[in-house]
């Protein structure tokens, strides 16, 4: 029985050998898969490409691609001048980032420098890795207990913090965006391909990590409402907008700087003193001589100015009723 079997096997082997032989330079795996693909071709696809031409031997491909790496085409991200860019970033981070009107994602304004040198494998991604370093510096969460959504929202039950609904924390990197305003922002990475050398003060990369904005915004506002016990009480600042009737512009104060209403009140008085100078001066005295704190206080208290705030329900409340904490 065995000889015929042997014979059959031999034939089988031979045919295999033949097959391998005919595949020429292609690895058999490739060949088979390419053939399989042809057979499974459903016909719905109009793809007219010739498959096998692409499947040049992978090993050769690898070699070729290795060589190509040295001469590869690099993206126009401002990564090629990475070392030079860093000082720019540092400069920008300390002074200019706050003023960026276009980007709702503000890095922290307390002078964190973005750029830390990082070894990158390929040049066309260098820009991004520097950008990501910038991210790692910024703190996502603040310890503010106050609801900061730009559209009014119920804030959490935590603490009695009936402060204005318009507060913004500078520490908050992921800023919830007003729905309309965000969209008009031009894509900073649009310039990536223009080789304009637009430096990475646009250090954040749009759309990365790929999370839906809704989710990002929700987490951002949720984080504002979490307990300080979390241990995420960082050096956040709690900035509040203050407006005075008749003043041409508003001011912002950091509530963290004060421990009681009295301090806040005096600070505000100082801040808004300039607006009353005119009034005072009209009484015929030199503002410089007579501008003492107490006199100002009298002026401010004597006038109709009282401190009020708008709470989460949209009601105007008199400052001082609720304990400071």
């Amino acid at each position: 029985m065995s000889p015929p079997l042997l014979g059959v096997e031999e034939e089988g082997i031979q045919s295999n050998v033949t097959l391998l032989g005919s595949s020429g330079s292609m690895e058999s795996v490739c060949q088979n898969s390419a053939e399989l693909k042809e057979r499974n071709y459903m016909g719905l696809s109009d793809c007219s490409s010739v498959d096998s031409s692409v499947f040049s031997p992978p090993s050769e491909e690898r070699k070729a691609s290795l060589n190509l790496k040295a001469t590869e085409l690099r993206l126009g991200l401002p990564g090629l001048q990475s070392p030079e860019r860093n000082p720019e970033l540092c400069l920008l981070s300390s002074s200019q980032l706050d003023e960026k009107p276009l980007f709702p994602l503000h890095p922290s304004s307390d002078g964190h420098c973005f750029a830390s040198q990082k070894n990158v494998v390929s040049g066309n991604k260098r820009g991004f890795s520097d950008a990501m370093d910038g991210f790692s510096e910024g703190k996502f969460l603040s310890d503010s207990k106050v609801d900061v959504m730009l559209s009014p929202r119920p804030s959490s039950n935590f603490g009695a913090q009936p402060m204005k609904a318009k507060e913004i924390t500078s520490q908050n990197v992921v800023h919830d965006r007003p729905h309309a305003a965000d969209k008009t922002r031009p894509n900073p990475n649009a310039s990536a391909n223009n080789n304009s050398g637009a430096p990475a003060n646009k250090a954040q990369v749009v759309g990365w990590p790929p999370i839906r904005s809704f989710r990002k915004n929700s987490l951002a506002s949720a984080s504002k409402n979490t307990d300080e016990v979390d241990g995420k009480a960082g050096p956040g600042a709690l900035f509040v907008k203050v407006s005075m009737d008749g003043a041409p512009y508003l001011r912002k104060v950091d509530l963290k700087n004060y421990t009681k209403y009295q301090e806040l009140s005096s600070a505000l008085e100082k801040m808004f003193s300039c607006f009353t100078i005119g009034q005072y001066g009209s009484h015929g005295t030199s503002s410089r001589e007579l501008l003492s704190e107490s006199k100002l206080k009298d002026l401010l208290h004597g006038s109709e100015y009282v401190l009020t705030y708008e709470d989460k329900d949209g009601d105007w409340m008199l400052v001082g009723d609720v304990p400071w904490e």
Binding site: S33, K37, N40, Y41, M42, L44, S45, D46, C47, S49, V54, E61, R62, S65, L68, E72, L73, R74, L75, L77, L105, V120, V121, S122, K125, F128, S129, F135, S136, K139, F140, S151, P152, R153, P154, S156, V173, H179, D182, K183, P186, N187, N189, A190, A192, N193, N194, V206, G207, W208, P209, P210, I211, R212, F214, K216, S218, L219, A222, S223
Partner: protein, 572 residues
């Protein structure tokens, strides 16, 4: 085949429900096409600009349920400017004018105005179901119109929409006569709701099976709602903050215990973690748990909760669960099929949370895993190879390393081999998202092995055009390809323009394709719309064909150029 009278064939076709199958049926012959078209009730349109409402209405006069998708996927990540398109109003207007008895409308990534909602609510007597996912452009006034006018409304499901909340009288707009609600999901709304109206609504909805509340619904209301709706199958908790020694908490415990049918739990938009024990009684039956909006829940409390969920099939969680927590999942949730781990701190300094270790643990403990979305700090080739071995059944595999070009931290190599192992092992893979440091090699593997791949997302990868070519040539079933920040240029784009007609769409942003290349595609393929999105309006000043295009979105269409494109979009 034509030996049967039409009615018989129609009856047979009733059993064919999948869109793909019905599409195939309609291609068999003219009479089948005709029968199929008159009997078709559900239509899915993956790109609202691929066809016009008029043609839809003409072909399917019996239409009852329409699903529409608008903006390209990358719009979710702010890569598509605000008013790019995807307006639903023309569709509703056309349908309203026709004699179509629309009953269900499901929209994703579309712009929905209050006007359209109002028109919708008034035009279709039997309208039953509205599902909006990731949409925008409407306010609670639009919802009020739906509530007020759709007398037989069964489903109002709002998922992750940007809604301008005018503070909630919309719930009160459901008339007293409305008792048909089966599903109500308003978790994404940010404003207050009229709690009394909500309670009354739930009381008079005996068929209510799915209820997802928003953050403004406090615990005592939740307790009352659960008492009135113990038949719930799907519950989304809004606020879960209370004192564990309070009366309310005790009542809640009783109420929850009555809800023996709950299989799906989500929300916890506000949570006090020390009170989770009230939930334990229903955990044992849960098949879906979504805690991805509950950053307040982590550590031991979270792990303890998960340990009760032995039947879980789908888990959506934040990365504050940590690798250790994922280990608990691996030990407990043996039926797990889908895992999504979202970043709790997307721009954070490595505070999170999960690495390749967690994923390996889950893959070892949960052999039924077939769908993954995983945001992590780092990934290694070894881990991916192990995962591929443990779980060969992946249908969806989306990996997002927070630093998108990070190599394997152990070997400092690109992640080509790891992803290669995934595509080789998972023969049924339909959707893949890549990240990490990647060269052309990974695309060679994808082209070779990912035979069932339908959707591929690439970012910050590859070395040359070869990468894109491998994919276009190899993946026969590819329908959607989205690429950002890769060095793919005209050579890759133009290699096989016919391929794009077999796909739904191609997105390329911050790549190396030029205006000339795009024009060339447009010229050769009149059945494609090739859109150039240029917010900085550089194209206007410099019409040089050699100029690189920032964002290109092309898609097949039967109706030519769309008329509603904003100024910064040029259709070539």
């Amino acid at each position: 085949m034509n030996y049967f009278p039409d009615e018989v064939l129609e009856h047979v076709f009733d059993f064919i429900t999948s869109h793909k199958d019905r599409n195939s049926v309609s291609l068999v012959c003219k009479s089948w096409h005709k029968i199929e078209r008159y009997s078709r009730q559900r239509v899915f349109i993956g790109n609202c600009y691929s066809i016009s409402p008029e043609r839809l209405i003409a072909r399917f006069p019996g239409l009852k349920s329409l699903t529409l998708k608008g903006k390209p996927h990358f719009a979710d990540f702010n890569l598509v400017p605000h008013d790019w398109g995807g307006f639903v109003y023309p569709w509703i207007k056309a349908l309203a004018k026709s004699r179509i008895g629309l009953e269900e409308l499901r929209l994703k990534r579309m712009v929905v105005s209050d006007e359209s909602l109002e028109l919708l609510s008034k035009s279709f007597v039997n309208f039953k179901s509205l599902v909006l996912v990731s949409c925008e452009g409407f306010t609670t006034d639009g919802l009020a119109a739906i509530a007020a006018n759709c007398r037989f409304l069964r489903e109002l499901d709002l998922q992750e929409n940007e809604v301008d909340d005018h503070r909630g009288h919309w719930l009160s707009c459901f008339p007293e006569s409305c008792t048909s609600l089966i599903s109500l999901n308003f978790a994404c709304l940010r404003g207050e709701v009229n709690l009394g109206a909500l309670e009354r609504l739930v009381s008079r909805s005996p068929n209510l099976k799915s209820l997802r509340l928003n953050r403004a619904v406090p615990l005592d209301t939740l307790q009352k709602l659960l008492m009135r709706a113990p038949q719930l199958v799907d519950l989304g908790i809004g606020s879960y903050v209370h004192d564990p020694f309070s009366e309310v908490y005790n009542k809640l415990k009783i109420a929850i215990q009555r809800c023996k049918s709950i299989r799906s739990l989500s929300g916890f938009l506000e949570v006090a973690p020390h009170c989770m024990s009230a939930i334990y009684p229903i955990c044992g039956n849960l098949t879906f748990l979504n805690l991805s909006y509950a950053p307040g829940l982590h550590g031991n409390k979270l792990m303890k909760l998960i340990q009760h969920c032995r039947k879980l099939q789908r888990l959506w969680i934040l990365d504050c669960i940590g690798d250790k927590g994922l280990g608990v999942v691996a030990l407990t949730c043996k039926e797990l099929q889908e895992l999504r781990v979202f970043p709790s701190d997307p721009f954070g300094a490595g505070n999170a949370a999960v690495t390749e270790e967690g994923l390996v643990l889950v893959s070892a403990g949960c052999p039924k895993l077939n769908s993954l979305l995983y945001f992590c700090q780092q990934m290694t080739n070894a881990a991916l190879i192990t995962v591929a071995k443990n779980c060969p059944n992946f249908i969806r595999f989306r990996l997002c390393i927070l630093d998108p070009i990070k190599p394997d931290p152990v070997t400092n190599q690109p992640l080509d081999e790891g992803f290669g192992a995934i595509v080789q092992s998972c023969k049924g893979l339909k959707r893949l998202s890549l990240s990490g440091l990647l060269t052309d090699q990974v695309f060679l593997y994808i082209g070779m092995y990912a035979e069932q791949l339908e959707m591929l997302s690439i970012a910050f990868a590859a070395d040359s055009d070869k990468g894109m070519l491998y994919v276009l040539n190899g993946c026969k079933k590819l329908r959607k390809l989205e690429i950002r920040d890769c060095p793919f240029g005209d050579a890759a784009l133009l290699e096989d323009v016919g391929k794009y007609e077999t796909m739904r769409s191609l997105w390329m942003s911050s790549c190396e394709v030029t205006l000339g290349g795009c024009k060339s595609v447009a010229e050769k393929m009149p059945s494609l719309n090739v859109e150039i999105i240029d917010e900085c309006e550089q194209m206007e000043f410099n019409l040089d064909d050699k100029q690189k295009v920032d964002k290109m979105y092309l898609y097949r269409t039967l109706v030519g150029h769309r008329k509603d494109a904003p100024e910064y979009v040029s259709i070539l």
